[in-house]
Symmetry: C2
Subunit: 330 residues, 2 copies
């Protein structure tokens, strides 16, 4: 492990519901890390509860998150990615339009003063201003981090597809180091709502393990001719299959998960730009990545690489490109 004395950067992955802080050393190694449920939503709640300005609430939260590091290393740069740079965040970092070079040395970072002569730099999100526009904040940095780990064998570096599953999953086309286009699917958020609050939730019995056969069954329905209909038309089967004795209550949750992830994959593969993707990199938590990998396999996409925790590496790479930390590549 790198000696803490070598700390060269404080990197923050500051999202909607959580904040992760990384103390980084030589070559982008992670010296220490923390995660707290202090996303921008909680910061806004704190501001309201304690009658603080939003900016002051962000200052306080930053202190909770890594005040000790800021004090111990008073001169190293501090950089964040994620929703902290949104309109509802600390300070807005205007979206960069596609095509967006992920390690652009000239990319305009937003800044906010966190101590006298000390700035927090915020990495801007990316906008694909197509007919139905798409935006991301944070995922661009995860992708840059993934690319730092090298390409996937068999993946053309000029034609890569990244999947970042989650509340709003992102499917991103990257050519070299440039995001060329992307799409968002509200799968995670819609799944959470349907499985906890809709009529489908009434028949869900929790299961201690993932019911993979039920999950795969859902994916197969999404892949079948019936899956051509919108999810709103297929989802009711998560209830009626139970009513007709053809699905167990403990299977409903994973069946629905498969149905929804399958519908997402089917839709994305139908987009002209991803239709030919032979290989794919998933950046996301293990449990969710495993679901997508399994579902992609059913759709015939076998060459899938899963990566976790790529955000700090991406922040480091951008800090190098921007000359904020010394880079061996610079």
């Amino acid at each position: 492990m790198t000696n803490i004395a070598e700390a060269q950067l404080i990197a923050l992955d500051w999202g909607t519901t959580s904040a992760r802080a990384y103390l980084m050393g030589n070559g982008g190694s992670v010296v220490a890390e923390r995660s707290l449920p202090l996303g921008i939503m909680q910061v806004a709640a704190t501001a309201q509860a304690e009658s603080l300005t939003l900016a002051r609430a962000f200052e306080v939260t930053l202190g909770e998150l890594c005040g000790d590091w800021l004090e111990a290393f008073p001169t190293i740069p501090v950089i964040a990615c994620g929703m902290v740079g949104s309109q509802q965040g600390w300070v807005e970092a205007a979206y960069r339009p596609v095509p967006a070079d992920l390690a652009d040395p000239c990319a305009q970072l937003a800044t906010v003063e966190i101590a006298p002569s000390r700035l927090l730099h915020i990495i801007p999100g990316v906008l694909d201003n197509k007919e139905l526009p798409d935006v991301m904040r944070g995922e661009e940095t995860q992708i840059l981090g993934a690319m730092e780990l090298g390409g996937q064998p068999g993946q053309d570096p000029e034609d890569q597809v990244f999947l970042l599953p989650g509340t709003h999953s992102k499917w991103v086309k990257v050519s070299g180091r440039t995001i060329t286009e992307f799409s968002t699917s509200m799968t995670g958020e819609t799944y959470a709502l349907l499985s906890s609050q809709s009529i489908l939730s009434k028949l869900i019995e929790p299961s201690s393990t993932v019911q993979w056969s039920a999950f795969e069954r859902g994916v197969q329905v999404a892949q079948s001719p019936q899956g051509a209909a919108d999810l709103m038309l297929t989802a009711f089967s998560a209830r009626t299959l139970v009513l007709t004795g053809r699905l167990e209550e403990t299977e409903v949750s994973d069946y629905l998960s498969g149905l929804m992830i399958g519908a997402e994959i089917r839709s994305v593969l139908g987009l002209p730009t991803t239709a030919t993707a032979p290989a794919l990199t998933i950046c996301g938590n293990k449990e969710l990545s495993a679901r997508y990998t399994r579902a992609l396999g059913i759709f015939g996409i076998e060459q899938v690489r899963e990566l976790q925790g790529t955000a700090p590496r991406g922040i480091w790479a951008l800090a190098c490109a921007q000359g904020l930390v010394p880079s061996v590549f610079a």
Copy 2:
């Protein structure tokens, strides 16, 4: 108006969140009617709150709803349709499978004794036990009521399509008086969740009137090549169009409504069985029916008839078919 002395039937349309009672007279005319928010969900809550058996809570609720009619007309039959006949209802009326003759004189009604020698008859729902099964309770009776009003000009009586929009909209193929198949779309419930609790809700400003242009824009997106993707992929545009200054916050709600109803219609028209439907009857509330009619027009389906409040007429027709009330057709 029919004299109340001529009352011949008490008809109940007893659903999940509301209960409607109709006192009916000669020829199926409605002598008096009531609607209370005493659906089976509220009955279950009452049972729990007051430590009653579910059956007792239903008895009490029936008294609240129409105890005076039951007393004033102690010999006329009492019939209900809807979720009161579900597993979570008063007594289960087993689903009838398709093909289901809506006015079958031999259809098995469930019964429960509501007073000495007095029964409540409950009309069974219908099950389409296809690969992804579908069920309905109450809608079959609304359709029968609609058919009592006569066919729609231009609609082949052997090939009719009924749409019953709502929390779970039903698209129903009817040949003569027989339901041959149907599909359910969870549009209304999913819309309510997305527009009140998802990230899309954050940018919604209420509007005092329907923003028809935003609604139509949503339908057009659903109809466009981009609408081939699942709603989970197109719905995020209700946020990003605002972020990019291309949609007003007061338009988000109706844009999303158009997007979702459009996705539903696109999906249903893609089903082989409804692809050729030239004409259609909508049974539902006025506001929602107007949305579907407008969206259907954009999809080129101009011959649409809207009907409201057909349930009592359907109950009357079934009561006639079953010999429970004298029928001029019997």
